[in-house]
Amino acid sequence: MRHIISILLENEAGALSRVAGLFSARGYNIEAMTVAPTHDASISRMTVATRGSEEIMEQVLKQLNKLVEVIRVHDLSEGPHIERELMLIKVHAVGPDREEVKRLSDIFRGRIIDVTDRSYTIELTGPGDKLDAFIHALDPGMVIEVVRSGASAISRGAKAI
């Protein structure tokens, strides 16, 4: 099963490598990993999308907690949560495609943020599967390049993790 894990960790050099190294050393899967400082500049928040059985997830959480720089670990998949990912996608847009791409972007609530006479760059936010759906809706030959942020996620409700 897919899990979204939130990690609060000291914003220190090497902390990111420690987490990434843990996943590779113990053979845990990483689908995506994002990290940036929080409102408290001394703390970074990392979101890891991963897959594994219940036993593996128990070990993942315990091993993460064991890292000295990790302050808190929480598996958001255990409760209601919101997941968002940002995608910037550059597509060919010439002739009749120009209008078609614009329409598709509107349907997905994307925003065209850069335009040339041959291309559009579209900004799109949402859960990962929505971004996948947008890419699939395009003719594969139209995509010039894609950059995705990886999932960021937060629990529903008034409490912090």
């Binding site: 960790l9 190294g21 050393a25 064991k66 000295v68």
Partner: protein
Amino acid sequence: MTSPTTIHERLSPKTESETLTGAEIVVRALRDEGVEFVFGYPGGAVLYIYDALDKQEAVQHVLVRHEQAAVHAADAYSRVTGKVGVALVTSGPGATNAVTGIATAYMDSVPLVVISGQVPVALIGNDAFQEVDTVGITRPCTKHNFLVKDVKDLASTLKTAFYLAATGRPGPVLVDIPKDVTGKQCAYHYPDKISLRSYKPTVKGHPGQVRKAMQMIASAQRPIFYTGGGVILGNASEELRKLVRSLNVPITHTLMGLGAYPASDPQFVGMLGMHGTYEANMAVQHCDVLVALGARFDDRVTGNLAKFAPHAKIVHVDVDPSSISKNVRVDVPIVGDLQQVLTEMNQVLDELDALNDPHAMQAWWAQIAEWRKRDCLHYQQDEQIIKPQFVVQKLFELTGGDAIVTSDVGQHQMWAAQFYGFDKPRRWVNSGGLGTMGFGLPAAMGAQVAEPDATVLCITGDGSIQMNIQELSTCQQYKLPLKVACLNNHYLGMVRQWQEFFYEDRYAMSYVDALPDFVKLAEAYGHIGLRADTPADVEPVIREALRLKDRMVFMDFRVDAKENVYPMVPAGAALSDMILV
């Protein structure tokens, strides 16, 4: 050489904050931490630190001949004393040589602080001379590590390093210090206490869980205690003995746990696992409650996990939550410090209404007595060829079972574990987790430095001893009177045994041709060398070695080349599927 008014004065505690160089801060912090010995090897990046060490006497330095040996020696010093061991190495190759030692300590959860030199801050990342990414290389084999780029952070980082190494599940912590940081000056203030928001080890066991565990244990019909290195690291032997005696339960130890409970006590059924005793393995396979204390269900202990202790409910106490339910499903997990939790268990025991059913326990002990009759460690000593087991047994008898024994890795290690009965904790020092050949001799040095008056025995083999043989020179420099007992069979014996059992007698590269004359080699280093060729030689050689109290003696025992370690559970087999003699 030393101006008497400089560092001697500056290193003595006079004012709250004096200005010291980074190097002086390192030495002063070690002193304030109560460190008596540092094991190390100098080099360019740590010259300021060596200069500062040389100008004081509180912290003594032991010069080894290879950085790996420095870390092993510090490691053994820690295992014998319970204090944090300290090693000091230079940048680049100094640090990479130390890695095997660090990984060894990490796998066995030994508290160490390893200080490594680094190239100056401005050169980091430049592929400078003797530069290596030490924190990168050691990240997966340390509990934590630091690169100190500012002299102002040095004292507090060292304090944190000692705190992390010794608390929770102990382990090695590395502090990498660029050379220019050791040359810069800063006010010295060593913090009394460190508190980290991200690091709060659990000490006390959950009272509800402790009660539940005790009820489960007291209502068992066939209970057994299985304890590991955690009981020794946690200084919990006394509490363990009290509990096990009160309950009159059988107890087995892992390789790392030997000595926690007296081997001479009838409740001890021997070591379990791949080379454990028949009675220990059978008891684990047939028990209904298994009490695991400071042990981690390692593959060498459990054999085939799916077939491990099939009838057992499991209680597992460990300071490290990630050790619990990692390999086996646990019924009552308790996270906490072993000494603390065992004290709580003893308290709950006093409050229990009833202990184990005496009839069931009688039947259980009778069953164990049956298994014991199998005499699984039996060997036959004839008059021609020395059996390695016989050597260890004689070493045990002639040292009164009271030596500190270090070992390397292989057959000799298993025979030492099987035939040298340890009645006390911290007397058996070996690389259980990583299985590091070359550990034994430097470990014996660290043990002898820790206990100068103790008999320190290094039980080794002709393969392992050559992996750090250069340390004979260190033994000479510091007049360390340790005794090496080499079970010399001209083979990498354990490799040969596996090849005999599982690779149809094809002995690929396990025969060690062109061995040195160990007696002459010992003499070349200024020591005494003794050889035993026949069984009749064994006792006189050991007696002579022990008589030479102030000399390092190398005993070369020419033992049966084809002897195997029994019992043996083949990798992947159930614990009860033992190959027996």
